[in-house]
Symmetry: C2
Subunit: 174 residues, 2 copies
């Protein structure tokens, strides 16, 4: 056997072995994107990497939900808050995390997060969401969006209460 055919074989075998791996990886990537659960009405998904975003503010939600909450924002959101920019520019994303809460096992006077309840997302895209103040909404439980009826309530409440702040409840905690 020639050296050239040896070389060809040495490349062909790993390539043949890799083919199904590569095909699977491509499928997995496509599935991750296409299959990402999106909210009804708005098609909003949970943004990648949101858990590492800066904090806008924590909050406590009273009865009946009784949740500890924290709103995080992407860079566009943080810059808009810093500059007092209203309306928020396209690309703004806000994510509200919510947890049940209970007393800290380590320090009685403290109340700390327990089980995660919902993740709620607001995405600004004035072109895509002209009828809801430019905002798309998503409410997720265990990564799955809640039903359409619940999503119909989002904008009505934001519109009734915080229209003058571009429909955003959370103020930046300084």
């Amino acid at each position: 056997m020639s050296m050239a055919s040896d070389l060809r074989r040495s490349w062909l075998v790993p390539a043949a072995a890799l083919a199904p791996v590569l095909a699977f990886a491509a499928m997995a990537l496509a599935r991750a994107d296409a299959g990402k659960p999106a909210s009804p009405l708005f098609g909003v998904t949970v943004p990648d990497g949101y858990r590492g975003w800066p904090l806008i503010a924590p909050a406590l939600e009273g009865e009946p939900l009784n949740e500890l909450r924290a709103v995080l924002g992407n860079d566009v959101a943080v810059r808009a808050y810093a500059g007092g920019t209203l309306p928020f520019p396209d690309g703004t994303m806000l994510v509200k995390l919510a947890w049940q809460h209970g007393p800290s096992p380590d320090f009685e006077p403290a109340t700390v997060p327990g089980r995660a309840t919902t993740v709620q997302v607001m995405v600004k895209d004035a072109t895509r969401y002209p009828e809801t103040g430019g905002w798309g909404f998503g409410r997720f439980i265990d990564g799955k969006p809640v039903d359409e009826a619940q999503h119909r309530t989002c904008f009505a409440c934001h519109e009734a209460r915080v229209r003058e702040r571009d429909y955003v409840f959370t103020r930046y905690a300084r």
Copy 2:
């Protein structure tokens, strides 16, 4: 005049012109560092850019403080939490922000941050802080460290209650 002396002059003039600029820059840097308020006992300062760090967890502190709180962590801290790394590696920094709180003017069931009260910092440096579990502490009000007596209480409480978690109370909120 020779070409060599021309060249020498062309370098000498800008260098001479830059000297006071460089001296000023060095002074400014030294001042920014030296003048930063540092905690007694530990010499811990409020880290630059901490407000943009990822959230570790929110919390509510009951009587008598009645504060909403949020602990943020630098990249070293976030990686250690993600990997369950104990003890936390040198360079870990945690910052706890605290606010008074009150009902949201926009939505009654929600309790939201009011005036900021303290900013509290933990810095891991096993070599620098061998007597306090490798942690340096700083407690700041309006950017100024509180007194030495208060700083003497930090480690005693962390040691008594959360020694097994490398003296860190806050768990990552998932």
